[in-house]
């Protein structure tokens, strides 16, 4: 790890100013640090300045009717332990539990997870099925971006220089589920992960897949096959086939393409069943 200057602003304005001042000079925003510090240590990220977000008042969880706004620096452990989050977004609870162990979840944050755009993120697939919107703050104020548009690729987002993620907004509670397969069941990166959610107001299914490079993606073909409402066995079979065929799966050191496509189908089946079991 190379030496860097650590800046700890107290307000969003100061944080944005610090990021802008250092732009072009190698700067990184630090939330929980569970991902960034590894990359700094190994030299995959070089930053002369690191702006810590720990003093910003963003460790929040706000409900507004059916809408949940999660502050970007809220530790995942807080989401995990919140009974209303678990009841309203059970798939998000599954995904949070998939991240490391409790100690790591005390540090890791939602904003860090999205901002770092890791291909193997456990949160992104579920947040995609929940139609998450990312609230960004910069020198010229705030803007909201759909998560699917915010993420570009591995370690790439549409975050502009000097911009920060302030929060993530989930428009409505949805029965949902998140399942994954790993070489080692715990503390590993998923070979494949499947998230499913059902929107009771729009009567639509949402399917996303993770553990595929370069970023988790929605699989609308699979969601479409499930139709609206409670799917028939035949619809589930077609969805399973669709996810196997359309998911952008490739081979890597975590598994062959054939096996991962097979897993995608198996996990979709199970995720739909789990989601159905969670219908109110």
């Amino acid at each position: 790890m190379s030496a860097f200057e650590l800046i700890v602003p107290a307000t969003a304005e100061e944080a944005v100013a610090a990021l802008r001042a250092a732009a072009g000079d190698g700067v990184a925003a630090l939330a929980g640090g569970t991902d960034l510090l590894l990359d700094l240590e190994d030299g995959r990220v070089t930053a002369r300045r690191v702006v810590s977000l720990r003093r910003l008042p963003w460790r929040t969880l706000d409900w507004n009717g059916p809408t949940l706004t999660i502050g970007s620096t809220l530790p995942l452990r807080r989401l995990e332990l919140d009974p209303e989050v678990r009841a309203g977004f059970p798939g998000l609870y599954d995904a949070v539990r998939a991240v490391g162990g409790p100690a790591l979840r005390h540090r890791a944050t939602v904003g860090g997870n999205l901002g770092r755009s890791a291909p193997a993120s456990d949160l992104v697939p579920v947040l995609l099925t929940l139609d998450a919107e990312v609230e960004l703050i910069g020198a010229h104020g705030s803007r909201g971006v759909a998560l699917d548009r915010f993420l570009v690729g591995s370690r790439r987002t549409t975050l502009a220089a000097g911009e920060l993620i302030r929060a993530v907004r989930l428009p409505e509670r949805r029965p949902s589920a998140y399942l994954w397969q790993r070489v080692r069941p715990s503390n590993d990166i998923s070979q494949i992960a499947v998230a499913t959610a059902y929107s009771p107001t729009r009567r639509t299914w949402h399917v996303a897949i993770g553990g595929v490079a370069p970023r988790p993606v929605l699989v609308p073909e699979a969601a479409g096959a499930l139709g609206g409402g409670r799917p028939t066995d035949d619809a589930v079979r077609r969805a399973r086939e669709a996810v196997r065929r359309h998911a952008p799966v490739t081979a890597d050191k975590r598994g062959s393409e054939e096996y991962r496509r097979h897993l995608a189908g198996v996990l979709l089946d199970r995720a739909v069943a789990t989601t159905l079991a969670r219908f109110a």
Binding site: Q181, V183, I189
Partner: protein, 734 residues
């Protein structure tokens, strides 16, 4: 279970034990290695000038060695730095030292390396797509060839009721000691002095002598506390680089690997292909053909031990009237093969035991009964003609089968119960010496060996001395000395510490007691006791304080000392069966039988280990808590070999997973409840019949898990590790 408090516990819990990575000295420089940028190629140049131009940086390359180490003869086959040719990925090319670690790393980056890359040879089966033909033994790819035959194998296969032919493949596994390799070197005057985290200070001294070309008498090696060895800290590794830099700079130099470098440079167990053919007649094994291709990386020709030793484990502790075994140690562009807790035996046991399951399955026999029917018998001979004595495996198997039967009756659908057997021989043949000193306060054992974490030194040796003398354990201390002061010993490896070095401690204690008996004028054995805080020698009805039995000179010198040594016996095989190469006899007969219950997800292939039981032939338990911990730890480590651990070498010769993210050791979540049972009464080579405990309990684990997976799902997996993908593929194959 009553546990004795470990004497090193407080020190370690308080963070006061100095490990290799903790070493520090005033004015110390930090070192780093310059590693080859490719796995193989012609080295045109290594330009250190830009590195040397950095302030305070010292750099050493191949051409600097003679000026620093003198004109003594160095081992030409093991150059410290690649000179003309790079033969494995990340081979050291130079070493640098600087006042800070950051600057040392900057210096590494400043080194200009010109390597004309050549394609790496990494895949055993690409070298020998078919079994090596005649003349392959002299191929440059072959480091060793072993071949033996007994009986008329062709006839036995020709007249067999059934022949089962199978091929198994095993993966490269790493030791994953918590503490990386680390040392601190000083070179003053004519002395080369190094403190290092090692399993063998005397082994390092011997290695350094041949690597640097300086006499052993000018080298002093001092061990530190060791944060896990598992075979990876046996030979010299970083010490010569640190010493050369210390000589070049005139300063103390510390060299420690990063964890990534541990994976890149580590001497590990490398992949293998194992072919087993068994001929069965009348429900019994009539003959076996064993063919082994073992990847030994850049191991040197003629120095391969693994092949000739391992191949015996592919016959296993089973009666095999006729057999032919042939093995090739195959050189590839990987780091040298290195020992990993019971080197290569878990892989052999996996192949053999899984094969026996298949044979039993095909002949319609119960796998447990089939094993029991073929085990060697006490007083008989091994397949290779060595007398069998102190063989506890049959008793362990009987107990394991009873547990397996009970678990099977209780197991829900989707679960399966399997048995696996592992045979081992303690490394009690290697020699060692010790000195014990009796003062009026207690007994001190002087050791060059350091405790590597297992407890074999701080608990095991102390327990042997306490048993022999009658002293309570807290009156026995281990004192460490460097190689200039402590008596010679081979090292803490091969499960030999209690079994072999313990024998030396036992002998030294007997000698001490004999001297006391003489001074007491006793005709019956002397014991030591503590009476009102005073050490007393007791023989029958006579007793005297130790302080009165020691001479004034002895009291001034710290006590009465006595020496012991153990240069272990070794058995012999029937040499008439050997056609080529070297085979090794067993020094004693150890082993374990394990039982596992697993659940298999038949759609994903995922395996969950539900519960586990180990039945360990230990000869005699010296310290129950330590022995128990060794079995538990070995089972956990074996679960990694069985299920998830695999160094993935890419076709271009690079390691795809040099870190703990993708090289997956079990975490606590994957560890099932483990029941441990000791089988006693079958004596080994150690004090009062003790056998080594460090290695044997890892051996049956992959075999046991494979048998349980098969019982649960029908998947017969022939490759290690048993990842979900491999299990799913085997299920699909049906």
């Amino acid at each position: 279970m009553s546990a004795v408090r470990r004497p090193d516990a407080d020190l370690k819990l308080a963070g006061q034990a100095t490990y290799g990575t903790d070493l520090d000295a005033p004015g110390m420089l930090w070192a780093a290695l310059v590693l080859a940028p490719g796995p193989r190629g012609r080295l045109r140049s290594v330009d250190l000038s830009a590195a040397r131009a950095l302030p305070g940086v010292v750099a050493v390359g191949a051409s600097d060695v003679p000026a620093l180490a003198g004109r003594g003869e160095r081992d030409a086959e093991r150059p410290l730095f690649a000179d003309a040719q790079v033969v494995y990925p990340n081979q050291p090319l130079a070493a640098v030292a600087a006042p800070t670690l950051e600057r040392a790393r900057a210096a590494v980056r400043a080194v200009r390396v010109d390597l004309a890359a050549e394609p790496a040879v990494t895949d055993l089966e690409a070298i020998f797509p078919e079994w090596p033909g005649s003349g392959a033994a002299s191929s440059p790819h072959v480091a060793a060839h072993v071949h033996a035959r007994r009986g008329d194998v062709d006839a036995a296969f020709g007249s067999a009721d059934r022949v089962v032919r199978e091929t198994y493949r095993t993966a490269s596994v790493h030791q994953v000691a918590l503490e990386p390799h680390a040392c601190l070197a000083e070179a003053d005057g004519t002395t080369w002095r190094v403190r290092t985290s090692t399993q063998s200070p005397f082994g390092v001294r011997e290695d350094l002598s041949s690597l640097l070309g300086v006499p052993e008498s000018s080298i002093v090696v001092d061990g530190t506390w060791v944060g896990g060895g598992f075979g990876g800290k046996g030979a010299s590794f970083l010490e010569p680089y640190a010493l050369l830099l210390a000589r070049a700079s005139g300063r103390p130099v510390k060299l420690a690997l990063t964890y990534r470098e541990e994976f890149l440079l580590g001497r590990t167990t490398l992949p293998s292909v194992i072919r087993l053919d068994t001929a069965v007649a009348g429900g019994r094994i009539a003959a076996r053909r064993v063919r082994l291709l073992l990847d030994v990386g850049t191991s040197l020709p003629g120095r391969d031990f693994a092949t000739g030793y391992s191949i015996g484990f592919l016959l296993g502790p089973y009666q095999t009237p006729a057999f032919e075994v042939e093995g090739y140690a195959v050189r590839t562009n990987k780091p040298a093969f290195g020992p990993h807790r019971a080197p290569f035996a878990p892989q052999c046991a996996f192949a053999l035991e899984s094969h026996l399951e298949e044979v039993a399955h095909q002949v319609g026999a119960d796998p447990g009964q089939f094993r029991a029917d073929h085990l060697w018998v006490e007083g008989g001979t091994t397949a290779m003609g060595q007398p069998v004595a102190g063989f506890g495996i049959p008793a362990a198997l009987a107990q394991a089968r009873a547990t397996a039967a009970r678990w099977r009756a209780e197991a829900p659908a989707g679960h399966g119960v399997g048995i696996g057997l592992g045979f081992w021989s303690t490394g009690a043949g290697a020699g060692g010496e010790t000195r014990v000193v009796l003062s009026e306060r207690g007994l001190t054992i002087l050791e060059g060996e350091r405790e590597i974490g297992s407890g074999s030194v701080v608990v095991g040796l102390a327990a042997v001395a306490a048993e022999r003398t009658g002293l309570p354990r807290e009156r026995v201390h281990v004192e460490y000395g460097d190689t200039a002061r402590a008596p010679f010993d081979s090292g803490v490896y091969g499960s030999r510490t209690v079994a072999a070095l313990g024998g030396a401690v036992d002998e030294a204690c007997r000698s001490l007691l004999a001297t006391l008996a003489q001074r007491l004028g006793a005709t019956v054995p002397v014991r030591l006791e503590v009476d009102a805080e005073q050490l007393v020698a007791v023989a029958g009805s006579s007793h005297r304080p130790v302080s009165e039995l020691l001479t004034p000179e002895e009291l001034r010198a710290g006590g009465l000392s006595a020496d012991g040594k153990h240069y272990g016996r070794s058995g012999a095989i029937d040499e008439s069966i050997v056609l080529d190469g070297t085979f090794y006899a067993f020094t004693d007969f150890s082993g374990a039988v394990h039982v596992a219950e697993v659940a298999v997800d038949v759609e994903t292939g995922g395996v969950t280990v539900v519960r586990y039981a180990a039945f360990q032939d230990v000869g005699r338990t010296v310290d129950r808590a330590s022995a128990h911990a060794q079995v538990e730890g070995a089972v956990v480590m074996g679960l990694g070999t069985a299920l998830t651990e695999e160094a993935i070498w890419r076709d271009d010769g690079r390691l795809a997973n040099p870190g703990l993210l993708d090289y997956r050791i079990p975490t606590l979540t994957e560890v099932p409840p483990i029941e441990v049972t000791f089988v006693e009464g079958y004596p080994g080579a150690g004090p009062s019949g003790a056998k080594g405990i460090g290695e044997p309990p890892i051996i049956p684990v992959p075999a046991t898990i494979a048998a349980a997976v098969r019982a649960a799902s029908g998947a017969h997996v022939t490759d290690l590790p048993l990842t979900g993908e491999r299990v799913a593929r085997a299920l699909k194959r049906g």
